[in-house]
Amino acid sequence: MNNSAYIYEAVRTPRSKGKLGAALSRVKPVDLLAGLLEGLRSRHDLDTSLVDDVVMGCVMPVGEQGGCITKTAVMKAGWANSVAGVQLDRFCASGLEAVNIAAMKIASGWEDLVVAGGVESMSRIPMGSQGSAWGEDPQIAFDTGFVPQGISADLIAAVEGYSRLQLDEFAVRSQSYAAAARDAGYFSRSVLPVTDVNGIEILTQDDFIKPGTTVEALSGLKPSFQMMGELGFDDIAISRYPQISKVEHVHHAGNSSGVVDGASAVLVGSESAGQKLGLRPRARVVATAVTSTEPTIMLTGPGPATFKVLAKAGLGVADIDLVEVNEAFASVVLRFQKETQIPWGKINVNGGAIAMGHPLGATGGMLVGTLLDELERRDLKRGLVTLCVGGGMGIATIIERV
């Protein structure tokens, strides 16, 4: 029996600034997700009673985003009572973890149709709202060398010797690629407009992108993590990486991922589920992997995760046609490229989170859709998605068009 996990559809909301007053801040997180689920349902006239489970990443599952928001969104969307829902948290990997778990559910043969992705309203539930067993606990923080992620990003730059200019050049690349892709309509297949209770459109496409960004303009931005570093986190970092003399604070709002609101949903199912729905599979999930690295530098997981998933799949770096690596910080992508030696021409060809934003729990699902759309547009076969993750983790997934 063919237990392949197929991707039948991948949709997302547009992303907008994760600040009260911005476009999507007038939408409750549950409505953001429910609206997307409704869009997915109506696009394919989906018989929702065939869906076994909905798996959604959400990194700040508290307040109006708490209490298993997935099931609430499933109810709000009016899906069949039999559809279950679960919310998971693997920090920034949550959205991709959701897709991977969905693929595993299908591959095991224990479920037939699963929707996976994530939701994050960073405007209404700001970062930090969820508390932390790690950074907020002084003893554990001490024992494990905890530093905030921005310090880790700056630490990567220090260890690798990336200059501010190099990072800013990458940020400009992200902006120009993203703007070009949006304007060329490359995202329009997968981005569903967010509407209000009357069906009046609130946001139809990403509004966070800043086209025309230049290195000169970025050079004026103040480093974001200097104060934190001077507080003592730089010293903690250097105690773990004695080879560096100083942590230069090279990351800022312009070369780090944007704080935004958004949601994603990927329809993953077995071959027979697709036949029941009358849908043609767009891709197959080839393999998935998670791993973890040293926690202080924290954001170096994508390379090892990529090697691990390639080994699982029996593939080499050269077998990958396109890569989406999450642009949490510019240094993360630069380090990933250096480690894997994947040519730049294959990496984040339509920009990334520096330009469009990183709605924590939702991003992984969004990257799967962006990758699949571009593989189809270029008529290529195989792609890889990878993200750096809190605690030093890394995650990767390989998909292949069928």
Binding site: L20, G21, S25, R26, G63, E64, R124, D196, V197, N198
Partner: protein, 713 residues
């Protein structure tokens, strides 16, 4: 467009904007938007020389609020989007006003309700004239809407969630002093000069005024969603409202939803959300129905059914015959309206007992602090309890409220009619007997009319006036005026068996009884009666009416048929079951029990009823049961209309809601059809007729309306 916002700047640079729109009242419409834009442009242009702004009105009312007639025209789609755009514009203007950087004072010289009070909320200070003409509040919820001009967000931001809930969810109107107490306004003024003087003084004392939500670091009083007390209040709102409205009216919940948004996001985002949710309500059937109800209430109270050309009259002395439950209630409401009352019964003792009822009601009012003891004394002193017919001498109006017996009523009329003043008129508080028949004993049948009260009279707001064959227009006008005098709402119907309300009301009881006979679980019948929005299920209502009364009323009707040689009354399930219940000693709640047993605690169904017809194999679709219970009443109303019992759609709609508890969110028996869809309703009736019998066959008037694609207006 001849209206204007009069703009006058004094020597101190204080601009007084006096709203004087072209209509009879100031209202939120296109003209308002244009005038406000002009005013803001002037204020901004000469900002340097302006020290403050006073907003007041040239009309008797300050500002009337939204334009209901134009909101009724809004449909999903283009007009909805246009209304949304205008709403955003209104808000943006008010935002500009409050962010002018100059102190803005609302000088509230008359009623400021809805949109009117929303303007006041966008000012920095509110001073109201301490006059009975001033009413303040946000009654939008009663129209199925929410305050969409910033009212929800500003009130929550001003008062906090706890204090804002009641004014928003109940839509109460406050007198000036009470509004001050509730912090809806900040000051009272004695007269018009004082109002402006105080406004100017406040402006001078507060040159840098701005609203608290525009100050950095603003926090909603009492806390936002992170305060567990606030979160609990919001959470408790849903079940509390469901208990009250059974989920049939969306507006209160939407208000709560906007309140909840207001404590999650910033002020401007909350305003935007409020507009979107407001827009979603305008096109709902419930809002259209409740707005129509509001307009039709105005029509009725404005005298649409009162003959024109008859001078307005007042009753000075009323005689009431029979000091039973109805008579004593009529005595109370009449005395409260300042009318001298002669309450006559056969014995002095019975009459005194009737008067004592007024004493009890007054005492409660005094205890609740709603009336001064002296005033209560004065009301009670207006009632003369007597057994002496001569005390009726000179009454402008005599209302007979004795047993429903034609001969008795004839006899009393013959005996006491001569006591009436020269131009006096006679009213019968019958709920079912034809007025034309009762007037046969009268020497002046043109002065004879039906004045049908509902029980309990002091609480029920409706009076059904029945015009007999000989009743003159003048008598009708006077009965109408009396009803208004005692602050009731009069509907006018023509003479027919059961008139309008009793006839329609009986169908609810009958359909409940039919469902029992068909074997449906009584619990299901009761729950579904409540689910459609009736105050209680049909079986509980039957108990309140009493099985005994149902038997008597049916027998009286059979007697009447014999007397008039008619075949009007038919055997019916309500009658059959009532007879059987009476035989079992279950004659009604006040006779010790009926369908229910009434112990010390909650009432419980009488278990034996299950052994009569209940059949666990019977399983009717829930929607069928609900529609049968509701639609029977609508079909009967249509038949009444077909037969000419009512003259206007408004009388039927208002009468059904205020007289017999037809669910208010429907807008009444005919408005319900309009929003259900005339053709859709016809089709549904046809389906019900095929399944359940000819009582659901669509009456001709409905078929005509459907064929002509017309509404009941």
């Amino acid at each position: 467009m001849s209206g204007l916002f009069n703009y006058e700047k004094d020597a101190d640079g204080i601009v007084t904007v006096t709203m004087d729109m072209s209509g009879p009242v100031n209202a939120m419409n296109d003209e308002y938007v244009a005038l406000m834009a002009e005013t803001l442009a002037c204020l901004q242009a000469e900002a340097d020389s302006v020290s403050g702004v006073i907003i007041t009105s040239a009309k008797k009312t300050f500002f009337a609020g939204g334009d209901i007639k134009s909101m009724l025209q809004v449909e999903k789609g283009e007009s909805e989007r246009a209304m949304f755009a205008m709403n955003l514009q209104i808000k943006q203007q008010l935002r500009q006003l409050e962010q002018l950087g100059k102190p803005v004072v609302a000088a509230i010289n008359g009623a400021a309700l809805g949109g009117g009070y929303e303007i006041c909320l966008a000012c920095h200070h509110r001073i109201a004239l301490d006059s009975p003409a001033v009413q303040i509040g946000l009654p939008e919820v009663t129209l199925g809407l929410l305050p969409g001009g910033g009212g929800v967000v500003r009130l929550v931001s001003k008062l906090g969630v706890e204090k804002a809930l009641m004014p928003l969810l109940e839509g109460a109107r406050f007198k000036a002093a009470k509004a001050l107490e509730e912090n809806l306004i900040e000051e009272l003024a004695a007269d018009a000069d004082d109002l402006i003087a105080k406004a100017k003084a406040w402006i001078k004392a507060n040159p840098a005024a701005c609203n608290p939500w525009d100050v950095k670091g603003f926090k909603i009083p009492g806390g936002d969603y992170r305060n567990p007390k606030v979160a609990q209040m919001i959470q408790a709102g849903n079940p509390m409202m469901f208990k009250k409205s059974r989920g049939l009216v969306p507006a209160p919940l939407k208000i709560l939803d906007v309140i909840n948004s207001a404590i999650h996001v910033d002020f401007d985002t909350a305003l935007d959300i409020e507009s979107r949710v407001f827009t979603s309500l305008v096109t709902t059937a419930q809002a259209k129905n409740l707005m129509t109800f509001f307009l039709q209430m105005n029509q009725i109270d404005g005298g649409v059914s009162r003959p024109q050309g008859v001078e307005k009259s007042k009753v000075k002395k009323v005689g009431i015959l029979g000091a039973g439950m109805m008579g004593q209630g009529i005595a109370y409401v009449s005395a409260m309206a300042g009318i001298d009352v002669v309450l006559k019964d056969i014995s002095q003792e019975a009459a005194d007992k009737g008067k004592a009822y007024t004493g009890q009601l007054l005492q409660k009012r005094v205890q609740k602090g709603r009336m001064q003891p002296e005033a209560a004394e004065a009301v009670l002193a207006r009632i003369c309890a007597t057994a002496d017919a001569n005390d009726l001498q000179g009454c402008d109006l005599i209302i007979e409220a004795v047993f429903e017996n034609v001969d008795l009523k004839h006899q009393i009329n013959t005996e006491l009619e001569p006591q009436l003043a020269a131009h006096g008129f006679w009213g019968s508080n019958t709920s079912t007997l034809p007025i034309t028949l009762l007037a046969e004993s009268s020497s002046k049948p043109e002065n004879f009319i039906g004045i049908h009260f509902f029980s309990p009279v002091d609480k029920m707001p409706l009076v059904e006036i029945i015009v007999g064959a000989a009743t003159s227009a003048e008598t009708l006008a006077r009965a109408f005026d009396y009803t208004k005098q005692i602050k009731k709402t009069p509907i006018v119907v023509n003479d027919s068996r059961g008139f309008f309300t009793s006839r329609v009301f009986a169908t609810y009881l009958d359909e409940g009884a039919l469902l029992i006979e068909e074997g449906v679980d009584p619990v299901v019948i009761e729950n579904l009666g409540k689910a459609i929005g009736m105050p209680v299920g049909p079986l509980a209502v039957q108990d309140e009416v009493s099985q005994q009364l149902t038997v008597k009323a049916n027998e009286a009707n059979f007697d009447l048929d014999r007397r008039l040689d008619q075949a009007h009354t038919k055997d019916n399930a309500a009658y059959r079951l009532a007879k059987r219940m009476v035989a079992e000693g279950r004659a009604g709640r006040f006779h010790g029990g009926g369908y229910y047993e009434y112990g010390a605690g909650e009432k419980t169904l009488w278990p034996d009823i299950y052994s009569w017809y209940f059949n666990s194999d019977v399983s009717l679709p829930i929607d069928d049961i609900k529609d049968r219970l509701l639609f029977r009443q609508v079909v009967e109303s249509l038949r009444c209309f077909d037969e000419g019992v009512m003259n206007t759609v408004a009388d039927a709609n208002i009468g059904s809601i205020m007289g017999i508890g037809f669910p208010p969110h429907t807008g009444g028996v005919f408005q319900f059809i309009n929003t259900y869809g005339v053709q859709a309703f016809t089709d549904r009736l046809q389906a019900l007729a095929e399944r359940y019998g000819e009582r659901f066959v669509p009456p001709n008037i409905l078929l005509d309306k459907a064929a002509n694609n017309e509404l009941f207006m």
